[in-house]
Amino acid sequence: MRTMFFTQAVDDALAQAMADDPRFILFGEDVPLLRRNLLVRFGPGRVRGTPISESAFLGAGVAAAMTGLRPVVEIYMVDFLGVCMDALLNHAAKVEAFSGGKWTAPVVVRVPCGGGYGDGGQHEQSLWGWLAHIPGLTVLVPSTPADAGGLMLAALRHDGPVVFLEHKLLSEMWLEFMGSGARRTVQFDVPAEGRKGAVPRRWDPVPIGKAVLRRTGDDVTIVSVGVGVHRALEAAQVLDTEGISAGVLDLRTVSPLDIVAVREAVARSGRLLVVDEDYEGFGLSGELSAVVLEAGISCKYARVCTKTTIPYARDREDQVLPNCERICAGIRRLMQ
């Protein structure tokens, strides 16, 4: 077993795929610098920088995917998808349906997301619920280096558009780029297991749409993705000392949801707590309650999500994003 940092794992899986298949190409703003290791191995033809023109290059990525290339398009932050959403919403996600299932756009959009390092509400959003709302888009949110690499490989092999979200708090590269700027005077609450971990010698795809149970527990099921999974595990440990047994289900894929795994776990525990760094209203947390209700499972339900625009101030940001205390409090209420 070798160990890798989160983004290192993604890049490594990407390199493996690029070495195997010349149709994979990579582009985005500053990609020659950010992915310099791939640039010197695969050359400037396949690893390209772009102007700050997201609607053009993401739209081009979608169309290139329709005509034989397998582009990986990098967008600086998920927040910036606002500039170019049309390419995903009205094009990538619709090609398959509009062509009567005869044509697809196998493009991978690789994009950092999430907060916890004080960059403010226009640079720290999660938005996976917003993306998953659109039929035709696959949305992946890995929480460990092993899943990150494996899901990237699955995304690359997938026959339709995939948004691959890379949480900045887990990414050694993005956290340095956006958070510390190489300062040693700042600290962040980075989940160690998510930041660095064991990875396989050669990458195999992690199946899309398959959740994984990170911790078993009888009293309550915590369902989450990304950094939320680690916050949930931390909370489960605290609750354990109070005699509450909490299980943690890591969805890994937001769309398509692993409905079976969610229903099974919740049916057993009878309590569902969703931890979602994305916005609370009209999103993943509500969707999970619907999935359970539709199956006729009766359970107690609560959620710990982001309810407002994320404050810039670090102390208030830590309160607004799901944290261990809020998760524990939510579960204690469910247990009453």
């Binding site: 020659p32 610098l33 102007p51 500039v83």
Partner: protein, 342 residues
Amino acid sequence: MAPELLSLYGPMLRSRLFEEAVAKLWNDGLISGEMHLGTGEEAIIAGVVAQLGESDAMALDHRGTAALLMRGVDPVSILRELLGYPDGLCGGMGGHMHLFSKEHLAASSGIVGAEGPAAAGFALSAQYLNSGAVAVAFFGEGAMNQGMLMESLNLASTWNLPALFVCKNDGWAITSRSEKMTGGDLNERARGLGVPAVEFDGWDVLEVWEAACAAIERARSGQGPTFLHARCVHLEGHFLGMQLLRIVREPLREMPEIAIPLARSFLRPGGAALRERMAGLKEVLAAVLSSLRDPRRDSAYDPVQRARKTLLADAARLQSLEDRIEQEISRVLKAALEEARP
């Protein structure tokens, strides 16, 4: 008639000292997230903002501190915002990329190019509600490749909006050389959309003032928008801690971390032929080399130093102004840091 150089030097120096203090607080870990300083573009901001009045609006980018200071926003409240205090300019909610002052009609955005539509809308309000007022957009040349900014130039042109589109061209789009990312000529682009373009040295505050004066007069008198294209040098690159600058400034610390994985990947089997790999390597090296050759080192491009050189002719007046500003900034720092957070 252009004002006395000293009256423009004051706001530039004040902004420079303020931002140097911000850099220190950021380095000390008291300010979080990214930090995009405007050091090096003070003349562009000063030359324009000195001519703005009460009803004029500003659409700012992610380095809007200088414009806010020069427009009269309380420096202590800006600093307390950057420190994340609840009594900061935006209640600690915005931070340095998202600074707003309703009172001064100034709104920032961290989305590249978003200043275009904002200025067009501010100008539309001015056209209807406040005849004679103007709206100014400040943005970098990287934003000129953003569709919404091009659309805004066209909109301002067709609606004859009282707007100034001020392009601060430092040659870098984040970490990429803009010339490699940009087709054609920016002035011709603006002209092609029906917006007159003027290009000038953004490190010369009087030159900026002259160009802005004509554009503002045009806008105020209902003759429509102007594209002001100012060349400049950002002394700290895109943001503090930028990797390319770190390599140049601390090569021994930075190089091994970059060179080892780079060499390993270059040599790894599977992938492109040697010629392609060499081309990739050349691209990486070119980025580092062009940072080395960067004009940042030449004080002729530093608008504050440049103005100061001329002003040295009357050293006594200069000294008294500089003393006053230095004292103010240290008072501001003290007030921002020492007053307990509420």
